[in-house]
Assembly symmetry: C2
Homo-oligomer: 204 residues x 2
């Protein structure tokens, strides 16, 4: 069984978006595979008592500047969303429905779907909490929209998200992106180089 | 006049310590000089409403692990202080007394004093709020202890710290370390590589 990087991300997290565009290459270069773990930071913040980054005085303004500057450095489009932050429950459920699917074709769409949702929100400024936008994203990947819509109200899919968030908290996840590799946690898009050095060197 | 990097740091900030050990080399490699700007995050947090990193559930445990792991990667000694965080008022005043001093020999001790205070706190676990510890640090650098002690209760030195903190907040500083280069802000030890790329490329 190949070694894995657990990649925890919230669809409303700008740094999650930036990291999601790099994580596969880093995993591949270090002979790991990515386990996509969409979570809801809103639920996590209830435990940790944190507030969204952009809401703190001074820090908020810096953050929005930094999202844009860091995206530019990665040559990614970024427009800070008007509706922000959001709780992308349906997008998380759809991602888990793909990831946990018995149909391998659907399973293989987990990463492309993640990228498409993130880009819809942060590059194209679409409201990814809207069922129409999610349907559009799904359709662009050849996913059958009525099948996905039905899955989103399936109790097992709802439970999958609840479990995913509970397990994340139990594993000490408190932010997005957060990577766990062989028990070692790395938090933030700006920790990915360090994680890569860790993988390459076997730790220090 | 040479170009400068304003380096804002709190003596109770682990990432400030880690960054302080790298900032001079980065500045030198990019033909900048460092302006040492000790601040009190306690005063800043009153404005931003933040709480110390280590006090948040989940995030706190991760942070302490991360301080140690990042220090190890930089080959620096790090033992998380028992008394933490602290408000290192006297250490800040002493640093500003050196930095603003007319005596160039004392002025030149600003950086060595900063390093010595940080190492006393984070490597040797000494209580840098204690006058005896500060005196010991000063003496190790050949600073006349009674002269420094007198300066610390001088109104102009007290005012210098108040002004430094007020200006930091006015400039949008909300954390430690924070670097401002030609109006561009970079926050965190993990943003130093990005700052270096910014300096080398002229921005993006």
């Amino acid at each position: 069984m190949s070694k894995t990087i657990d990649f925890y991300y919230d669809y409303s997290s700008p740094y999650g978006y930036l990291a999601s565009e790099r994580i596969e290459a880093i995993a591949l270069n270090n002979e790991h595979t990515v386990v996509w773990r969409p979570i809801l930071l809103g639920a996590v913040f209830k435990v940790t008592g944190q507030t969204p980054l952009t809401e703190a005085p001074l820090k908020g303004e810096y953050s929005i500047m930094d999202f844009t500057r860091s995206a530019r450095e990665q040559s990614l489009d970024y427009t800070h969303p008007i509706k922000f932050p959001i709780g992308a429950v349906a997008a998380c459920r759809a991602t888990l429905w793909l990831r946990n699917n018995d149909d391998e074709t659907l399973q293989a769409l987990t990463a492309p779907f993640t990228h498409a949702v993130y880009r819809a929100y942060f590059a194209d400024n679409k409201d990814i909490t809207s069922p129409d936008v999610l349907a559009e994203v799904a359709a662009s990947l050849g996913i059958d929209v009525p099948t996905m819509a039905a899955a989103l109200s399936d109790q097992s899919v709802k439970d999958a998200l609840r479990t995913e968030v509970e397990n994340a908290i139990a594993n000490g996840v408190f932010g997005s992106p957060m990577m766990i590799v062989n028990g070692e946690k790395f938090w933030g898009n700006d920790r990915m180089e360090q994680m890569q050095r860790w993988l390459q060197s076997g730790g220090w």
